[in-house]
């Protein structure tokens, strides 16, 4: 547990440093995730303690969004003034995103599925 938390923090730190040094507009944790993924590819396996820690951390993922969500109270004024546009944008865009990504994947899957059978 302790070792794998250290690994996660270490990769995040390396990610943040790389972003600062290279000046790329990518968040540090994403770079950390990519580096860890490459490391696992090279190693050929994910160590059991790391798997357990990741699973535990990710199983409480929705809790981690709560403090940022409570920040809604800082924006009551803006939300009060602009709420129709915001609600419309969030709901319509989320429905569209769900639909488009599902339909695109389904269509590409059918195509590549038939391609595999032909080959």
């Amino acid at each position: 547990m302790l070792g794998s938390i250290t690994v996660l923090l270490l990769y995040q730190t390396i990610g943040e440093i790389l972003v600062l040094v290279l000046g790329v507009p990518i968040p540090g944790p994403v770079v950390g995730m990519a580096l860890l993924f490459v490391t696992l590819l090279v190693r050929g396996e994910a160590p059991a303690p790391l798997r357990e820690t990741a699973e535990r951390l990710l199983s409480h993922l929705s809790l981690l969004f709560v403090p940022a969500g409570v920040g809604v109270m800082l924006h009551f004024e803006r939300l009060g003034a602009e709420w129709p546009a915001i609600v419309l944008a969030l709901v319509a865009s989320t429905v569209l995103t769900l639909g488009v990504s599902a339909l695109v994947m389904q269509a590409l899957r059918r195509r590549s599925g038939s391609g595999a059978r032909d080959g």
Partner: protein, 240 residues
């Protein structure tokens, strides 16, 4: 006695302990309600905990900054949790390889739809410039979205709120939308939920099925990367 109590309150209200404890208590209360409601998507635990906490802070006249002094310890874990996404991503390597093209296609189409439609609808409906830019990264997980908002000239804390709202909306509506479209494969449903509603959608997907959860987690991680790469271009072209 009253003085003692208010002394205790003054001490506790100023310490990070209270913000952290009340966050965990509120979440567990909300989770209990969610379980009692048979995990109905409408009893979303994130939405319930936020409502509860905002009410508590409002009644006790506590500023958000004071609350966040404690809650930041929970918030901080989003960073390592994002790094940890590499693990389920790697665990699904075989599926990822087998369906690489459909997944990448869905991710690029979904990430573009999320950003472009949110900005376009917000702009057409009369939202201000700062709001429109803050809407752009709303479908990716909080640390990525806040980082992007900052780099693109939005308001990171407003983006965080939009991200959470998007996650809740996605978790609530996913089943109905995908049923209407007759998308019944768990893998496809998972990808759509992960792209549209990041971690909150993924948490919901895991409760429906392990396959759906794995694909949602995969999509959440990859769409974070895809959005990071595409969004600066989208915003530059759109120039809201």
């Amino acid at each position: 006695m009253g003085d003692r109590l208010s002394d205790i309150w003054v001490y506790l209200a100023a310490s990070p302990l209270l913000g952290l404890t009340v966050t965990l208590l509120a979440y567990q209360a909300a989770h209990w309600v969610y379980l009692r409601a048979n995990m109905s998507p409408f009893a979303n635990p994130v939405a319930l905990s936020i409502a509860l906490l905002v009410a508590i802070l409002w009644f006790t006249d506590t500023p958000y900054a004071t609350y966040f002094d404690g809650a930041q310890f929970v918030h901080f874990l989003l960073g390592p949790a994002t790094v940890a996404l590499a693990v389920p991503l790697y665990a699904n390597l075989a599926r990822l390889k087998r369906e690489l093209l459909p997944i990448i296609g869905a991710l690029v189409a979904g990430a573009l739809t999320a950003a472009v439609s949110a900005m376009a609808i917000g702009w057409l409906a009369g939202a201000s410039r700062a709001t429109v830019i803050s809407l752009a990264p709303k479908s990716v997980t909080t640390p990525i979205a806040m980082g992007l908002a900052e780099k693109l000239g939005g308001l990171p804390s407003l983006t965080a709120v939009f991200v959470v709202l998007t996650g809740i909306i996605g978790a609530v509506l996913a089943r109905s939308v995908l049923d209407v479209l007759r998308v019944d494969d768990d893998a496809v449903r998972g990808i759509a939920i992960g792209v549209a509603a990041h971690g909150i959608g993924t948490a919901r997907a895991f409760q429906v099925s392990a396959t759906m959860g794995a694909f949602a987690g995969l999509a959440m991680g990859l769409s974070g990367v895809v959005t990071t790469l595409l969004l600066p271009l989208v915003v530059r072209v759109a120039q809201p």
